[in-house]
């Protein structure tokens, strides 16, 4: 758990980068710091591991005031991932990933096992990739290594500063999925910086929307989309925030509310979709292909029904727009 208690950060007399920020990241949750460039996301993140000092207020990490902790000790217990992955070119992938365990004095066997476990998490062969150097990996692979390096010593808390920002959209999407998958297994307390609305909606349990160092709103993504607190928030998410919020719902949600269409055995060659897929992706899949329906498969890979643009539209209308209530409608 990370609590920010009325935290303020000034650079010199004039610049107040963070202004009286107050919120809590619950244990095992992802909170995304979202906002336009220069709003103070990076500064706020770096105050947690004391790469920036705190001007006023305090940050409490798992019950301990960060001021009372030794910065070196503290940082070894916090995973830190940055955009330009920060891998060390002079070290092999294994040396990079095992750096913190090494600093902590783990023995060889323990390091070896941990490395193999971590590489399996991201689907890279530890034998092959372990001996390579960072420049021998693709951008996406490097970023994955950056993530598992932060996970190496199993820190309870992770700080991630636009970790996927430099990747192209398709790879970014994949790594986000993969990371959420890992998070379901490791359940870290994560503070995640992003300037990408879609990424924030996808990754966040809660979003902190910042502007000029002040919190505009601190809420779950669906609350924020449905009930923006002020003009800035609704503008920031844009007119299409109803569609954006589709990514918070899955095919399963739709089935529970309005049910799927019947499976028509006569239609061949239709694409299939998994029941846990989010509705935004489902919609774009429907729009991108010629057939106006796709078959839904459940966990056992059985066909359980079909989904159409009509159904998604209906769901959007009743479930999402309906709940956006009286707030500024887009």
């Amino acid at each position: 758990m990370i609590s920010f208690n009325h935290v303020t950060k000034s650079f010199g007399e004039k610049i107040t980068a963070i202004d009286d920020v107050d919120f809590t990241v619950e244990e095992g949750k992802i909170v995304v710091l979202l906002g336009p460039s220069g709003c103070g996301k990076t500064t706020l993140l770096r105050m947690v591991n004391q790469l920036e000092s705190i001007t006023k207020g305090e940050i409490v990490i798992n019950g301990e005031n960060s001021k009372d902790l030794d910065p070196i000790e503290l940082r070894r217990k916090i995973g830190y991932v940055i955009q330009s992955n920060g891998l060390f070119p002079n070290m092999t992938i294994e040396e990079n990933v095992m750096l913190v365990p090494d600093l902590l004095g783990w023995n060889k066997k323990k390091k070896r096992e941990r490395f193999e476990y971590l590489m399996k998490l991201i689907g890279l062969d530890p034998k092959d990739y372990g001996k390579r150097y960072p420049h021998e990996l693709s951008g996406g692979q490097q970023q994955r290594i950056g993530v598992v390096r932060a996970l190496a010593a199993d820190p309870p808390v992770m700080l991630m500063d636009e970790p996927f920002g430099a990747l192209d959209p398709i790879i970014r999407d994949k790594i986000q999925e993969e990371f959420l998958q890992i998070q379901r297994e490791v359940k870290k307390t994560i503070l995640f910086v992003s300037h990408d609305i879609d990424e924030a909606i996808k990754m966040a349990d809660k979003i902190v929307l910042l502007r000029d160092g002040k919190i505009m709103q601190f809420d779950t993504p669906s609350e924020m989309l449905a009930h923006p607190k002020n003009e800035f928030v609704s503008q920031f998410f844009g007119k299409d925030r109803a569609i954006k919020s589709l990514s918070l719902h899955t095919v399963e949600n739709l089935r529970e509310v309005i049910g799927l269409g019947p499976v028509d055995e006569s239609i061949q060659d239709t694409k299939t979709i998994h029941i846990h897929q989010d509705l935004r992706n489902t919609l774009s899949m429907l729009l991108n292909q010629e057939a106006d329906q796709v078959i839904v498969k459940d966990e056992q890979d059985e066909n359980i029904g079909t989904i159409t643009i009509d159904l998604v539209q209906k769901y959007l209308h009743f479930e999402i727009k309906g709940k956006m209530s009286a707030s500024q409608e887009g």
Partner: protein, 245 residues
């Protein structure tokens, strides 16, 4: 493609031929004879030369590398540009003058030459150490800090390995220059192979010229070659740069 390869080969073999022709010409005119007829003197001069270079280079490395590391620490960062500019200015002063001016401070002899060579070698090593450390991506250092590495761990595990290439290149430059400058040590009476070169100039004796100049040249080329090999071994594989010539 074929034609281009041919041109390349012609140039290469023409050069080999020119070098071979030079040696045949020099040998047939007995220009190398002093090396054999006065082999004892030659060995003394060669030893003086090598000792001058080794002692002054080692001292320079011992001073310049730590100095470069120190000046790039956050505490001294502000002083960096002053020292770098002094180093740049210093390099415009002719090596001959540095040697000559040391005479009035330390008198004539071996110590004077070593000191002058040492002073002159500090500059390239210092400059390259600073440049190498400064060129490291700040994000990398940030990541290292964020992972909880202590300053000395960052220095030895990240900064030095990743600037090794630049530091070693500075040392190589300094040593090769030093071999040439040591040939001027004659003017401060410190011996070295320069003695024969200057004797050759003064007496218009081609034998002394060649017997002095060729060994100095070979020494420089050999040092360059060895130090490049050392670079290749020492610089970590992942941070080797693709740089030629």
């Amino acid at each position: 493609m074929k034609r281009k390869k041919l041109i390349g080969s012609i140039v290469r073999y023409a050069l080999y031929a020119a070098v071979a022709a030079f040696f045949i010409w020099a040998i047939s005119n007995s220009y190398f004879d002093y090396i054999f007829s006065q082999s004892e003197t030659f060995l003394v001069l060669l030893r003086q030369h090598v000792v001058l270079v080794l002692v002054s280079s080692l001292l320079a490395i011992l001073i310049a590398v730590p100095a470069g590391i120190l000046i790039t620490r956050p505490k001294f960062k502000k002083a960096e540009w002053i020292f770098s500019n002094i180093a740049n200015l210093g390099q415009t002063i002719p090596s001959l003058a540095v040697l000559a001016l040391m005479i009035s401070v330390l008198g004539i002899g071996f110590r004077t030459a070593v000191f002058a060579l040492f002073i002159y070698s500090i500059l390239p090593i210092f400059r390259n150490t600073v440049a190498g450390i400064d060129s490291i991506d700040k994000n990398m250092i940030d990541a290292a800090k964020g992972m909880g590495m202590k300053p000395h761990q960052i220095l030895f595990r990240i900064e030095l390995p990743n600037s090794a290439y630049s530091i070693l290149a500075g040392i190589r430059t300094a040593v090769v220059l030093n071999i040439g400058t040591a040939a001027l040590a004659y003017v401060v009476g410190a011996g070295g192979l320069g003695v024969w070169i200057f004797t050759g100039i003064n007496l218009f004796d081609n034998g002394f010229l060649i017997s002095g100049a060729i060994p100095v040249t070979l020494l420089a080329i050999l040092a360059d070659y060895i130090l490049r090999k050392v670079e290749y071994i020492v610089v970590p594989k992942g941070s080797r740069r693709i740089e030629k010539a």
